[in-house]
């Protein structure tokens, strides 16, 4: 037994686990009968199907015929900067307002780039703020807290 395709092995296992979780949770809902199905019926069987498909993929990864591959390395800094900037944008939006939150978003996400420059990022953030203000606040009249809440309150 040898794992030839790491990608298939890992994704297969992932499907099995997710399938089982979905099927298990479905058992806590009413299953009903085939004629009058409850909310648990469809997701239960889909979960089972997913787990079976996952098992097939996993086994395929062990077969001698499968192509050898490795899971490529994660670029953790990019993932964390990008995801972090988005999450932080959500956290501060209500208090800091749109304009400042966008600065936070643009600056932190820009850290992910290999070629970060202060000046370029400031210009970029200002331009994006203007576009966002004109298009969304002024043009489409979407409801936003635009300025920090301690200014307007």
């Amino acid at each position: 037994m040898q794992i030839r395709s790491q990608k298939d092995f890992a994704s297969g296992l992932m499907f099995v686990v997710i399938g089982i979780i979905f099927a298990y949770v479905a058992t806590t809902y009413n299953m009903g009968t085939t004629a009058k199905m409850g909310p648990g019926f469809f997701p239960f069987w889909l979960g089972i199907v997913l787990a079976i498909l996952g098992a097939i993929v996993t086994m395929g990864a062990l077969s001698k015929k499968s192509e050898k591959d490795q899971i490529p390395k994660w670029d953790w800094p990019s993932v964390l900067w990008v995801t972090g900037s988005v999450v932080l944008f959500g956290v501060v939006l209500a208090d800091l307002g749109l304009v400042l939150s966008l600065f936070v978003l643009v600056f932190i996400s820009a850290m992910a780039s290999h070629e970060f420059h202060w000046k370029g990022t400031v210009v970029n953030a200002v331009i994006l703020n203007v576009i966002a203000y004109v298009a969304f606040v002024w043009g489409l009249k979407l409801q936003f807290q635009v300025w920090p809440s301690f200014f307007t309150a």
Binding site: V25, P39, P43, S78, T83, G90, L142
Partner: protein, 500 residues
Amino acid sequence: MELLDNLALGFSTALTLQNLAYCLIGCVLGTLIGVLPGLGPIATIAMLLPATYALPPVAALIMLAGIYYGAQYGGSTTAILVNIPGESSSVVTAIDGYQMARRGRAGVALFTAGVGSFFAGCVATLVLAAFAAPLSELAFKFGPAEYFSLMVLGLIGAVVLASGSLIKAIAMIVLGLLLGLVGTDVNSGTARYSFDIPELTDGIGFVAVAMGMFGFAEIMTNLEQKENRETFLDKVSSLWPNKEDFKRMIPPILRGTTIGSLLGVLPGGGAALASFAAYSLEKKTSKYSAEFGKGAIEGVAGPESANNAAAQTSFIPLLTLGIPPNAVMALMVGAMTIHNIQPGPQVMSSNPALFWGLIASMWIGNLMLIVLNLPMIGVWVKLLTIPYKHLYPAILVFCCIGVYTVNNTTFDIYLTAGFGVIGYLFTKLGCEGAPLLLGFVLGPMMEENFRRAMLLARGDFSVFFTRPLSLGLLIAAAVLVVIVTLPAVKKTREEAFVEE
């Protein structure tokens, strides 16, 4: 002539000032994102969905449709000038288009792509108008069992024609279906998989899924690669082809349009597949096949016509049957639902102005696009000089604002961030996001029709096999699976996608 009356209605709808304006906005945005690599129509349409709330439904759909086929025009510009496909559907255009540019014929290549797309767009609009009515008639004969089987066929078709591993793609569909079921069950009122999180009882917002998996994940993947582009931005001189070029581009445009129109209708078809098919056909049949890969004009004309034709005919299954054939159309389902329009055969009768207006707008949009793309090519070329380090924060900004405004809740922002990481994980594991999105949109519809069919049949599973239409659809799905697993087909299928 009923068709003419309908088209007249369509044009009278599409030619109002407001609708013309939104058509133009859609086309400009489509060209823009088509030109910019790393930003596709899926992420853009998802981004703009919330912004269409305030618009009348016709205007919203006209604009969103314009983004999709506009992207087919813009994608070729980048492919030809920078050798990076702006869209997945212009991957093959890059092969010969870029070589033409290296030989100083960038202008001719751009002209060919533009004219080919325009011709294909006009024909596809007519195909759409002609086939929509009869298909809608057929759809009215469909009961829940037929709809369920049709969705099975659609989903299977979507993965059969896609690249990569078949089983993994089916698993991604099932995962998508399951994610689509999260939220309150309409029949019993039970909140499923919401784990007492109030935001989840309404279900997972599909804007969050689409944006996370196609916007954020894409950014993270792109950031791994260092920028390295050789460009021919200054070398766009004469656009006009010579007589010989004209003679050589016409047959591929006709063939590309035919292939594209056909493949667009198929489940799982769409622009990218059509351009691949057209390129291989041209390469195999052309008497200049030795020139392919070195700047053959056929290699630009065929695929570019095909991708635009397919982008438009893929609206046929959506508008007539209510079944999205690809991920972009899945988003259009979302757009229609937002505006309380249930996609399906009844749209044509209950909302004729919307239906025919959308079709007519596509022809108008194509006209706008050829003007936008040929005389104004210089403007778009300038855009390519924007470095990615400035571009991706902009994408993030518009994604965040877009997803927030769907429900005015920051929960959706976190959800999108989560799906971004999941989408990144999927790319690393070689799992494709498009089947998941398709399954996600079809999940609730599929369950609903399944339950209804079983209720009508009093719990007898054989209903799917005893009704002839339903049986036919299921057999077609089974045949598709068998065909791809045949060793000979499997091999060519793998080869066909290697170039990606």
